[in-house]
Amino acid sequence: MEKNLNFFIEINKLKDMERTGLTWLGVKNPETVAEHTIICAFAAWVLGRLNNLNAGRLIKAALSHDLCEVYSGDMTPFWGILPEEKKARKEFLKRWICLPVKEKEARNRERFSTEKKCLLKLTGSLGKKTEKEILNSWLDYEKRFSREGKFARQVDQIEGMLEAIYHLGKNKRAWVTPWWEEAEETIDDKILLDFLKVIQKKFYGKKLKNYRQLQDILDFILEIWKVKKMARHYWNLRHVKKPETVAGHIFTLTIMAWVLGRKKKLNMEKLLKMALCHELSAVYTGDTTQYDSVLPKNLAGREKILKKMLRMTQKEKQRIFLRDFRQEKKSLEKLTRKLMPSLRREMLQLWREYRTRSSREGYFLSQLNVSAVLLQGLLYEKKDKNFSSAPLWEWAFEISDDPAVCNLLREMKKKFC
């Protein structure tokens, strides 16, 4: 378990690692690698359904595709060829890469070998089976071994482009051009080619008919985009500087579920989907905490309450649970209203099982979620001695009885206390 914990701590770095391409263009607060990964996983799952692809394989390919960046950094396709000087660099970035085929091949070989080494360094201590599973998912994405790997790779490119449009805006078309050029080189899946048209319609007013379903999916993806920019409310209340976002938290939990859930013989596809969906309601409710309704307005009073775990009667707990449950359900229903009915039902069911712990996956995930929050708290505490994780420890010990989760808690105690 010590090795698993170290792995979780390492991948946490991706929540602070901003994507390089947009940073070079002077964009402040672009998405992090972790946030990008989570939207890729969602988009691959939802769009892949239209192609009858294996959702589990798609999600794993998306989750693993940038893990190597913990050590390699965000190696954009421009690595090694950008001018040093700022202005010249910006000018260079206005266009996609133009190179002879031989050079492209050599650069790709070098990048692949660097990233593979980094991935193996990261996963090497997880045990052969887990290491292999993560490596295989990454290879599937890299080498396009399966239809899912190929599809996930194309979705990855689209997510990056949407982020560029989001930040650079439709009025700065020139800056988004390299993303479009790359897309037009890379994408050949019929559904995704149509999706490109839908994006052009949405942002550039291209005339288009009969793509209702894809337009609805684009709207859904742009709605869940909000979780990339939404800081976790609890950390705000605790005065953490630059706290993780909701998407960042989803990233940690989903990877933890993948690694720890393997040994529990749970339905892995269901577990990963559930982890992706578990906080989606935040899109409309905002990120909420159990403290929200009890915090007084005065600062001293607030601080006093936040230092401890909330003590409530069973009746109060039930009342708050029901209130939150209804709000979150309403939010999810609104968010998924235009999705295909079967997908909508699935997402709502996954969320319900998580919230009510009514399946093995839901029971495990709800406990693991608290461990993920605690781990983040411990990392904040390590950086800032004024921050105390005490209430999170209380919460975790109260809620956890799953052996794998309890093992993880013990390991965290050993490491951090």
Binding site: R111, L139, T177
Partner: protein, 159 residues
């Protein structure tokens, strides 16, 4: 399974897929019998790929996918000499943009595409634009801002 379609492959690509198919069939047979598959000892196989195939559910779906592909595969042949000034599948194309930057692509079928290595699919927007054009033609990449290229050279590998 995708809708009925033709898969264009280079001869080398087709041979590779045939070999993959027969290796995977052997692998599946050995797995069912619980034996250590002899193909593990082969030196010319990609160990990364074989490791990937250990997942039995993937193994089975890949075998049926390969059966479908091989049934619908068509080998890319170089066009006759007089038509080699026109871009078709298998062509290596050198392009020059308005600033004199040189870009190169090889137009291949979807199964062999790897844009990171310059191999672009004939079904991608750029692949579709290139097909049918001749040397000195001007083409426009259709992104929100049109990017113009002049086709400098078209080359086919010698068979």
């Amino acid at each position: 399974m995708p809708e009925e379609k033709t898969f264009y492959l280079t001869l080398e690509g087709l041979e590779k897929l045939k070999k993959e198919y027969s290796d995977l069939k052997n692998l599946k047979l050995s797995k069912t019998k619980g034996e250590v598959p002899s193909i593990w000892e082969s030196e010319d196989l990609n160990p990364e790929y074989l490791s990937f195939q250990e997942d039995l559910s993937f193994l089975e779906s890949r075998i049926s996918e390969l059966e479908y592909i091989l049934k619908n595969a068509k080998v890319i042949k170089n066009p006759p000499k007089e038509k080699q000034s026109v871009i078709s599948l298998g062509a290596k194309v050198t392009l020059e943009d308005s600033e004199g930057r040189i870009n190169e692509y090889m137009v291949v079928g979807t199964l062999e595409a790897n844009p990171n290595e310059g191999k672009i699919s004939s079904e991608s927007p750029i692949g579709k634009i290139l097909l049918g054009h001749k040397t000195r033609d001007q083409i426009f990449v259709t992104s929100p801002i049109k990017v113009a290229y002049r086709i400098k050279k078209i080359k086919y590998q010698s068979c």
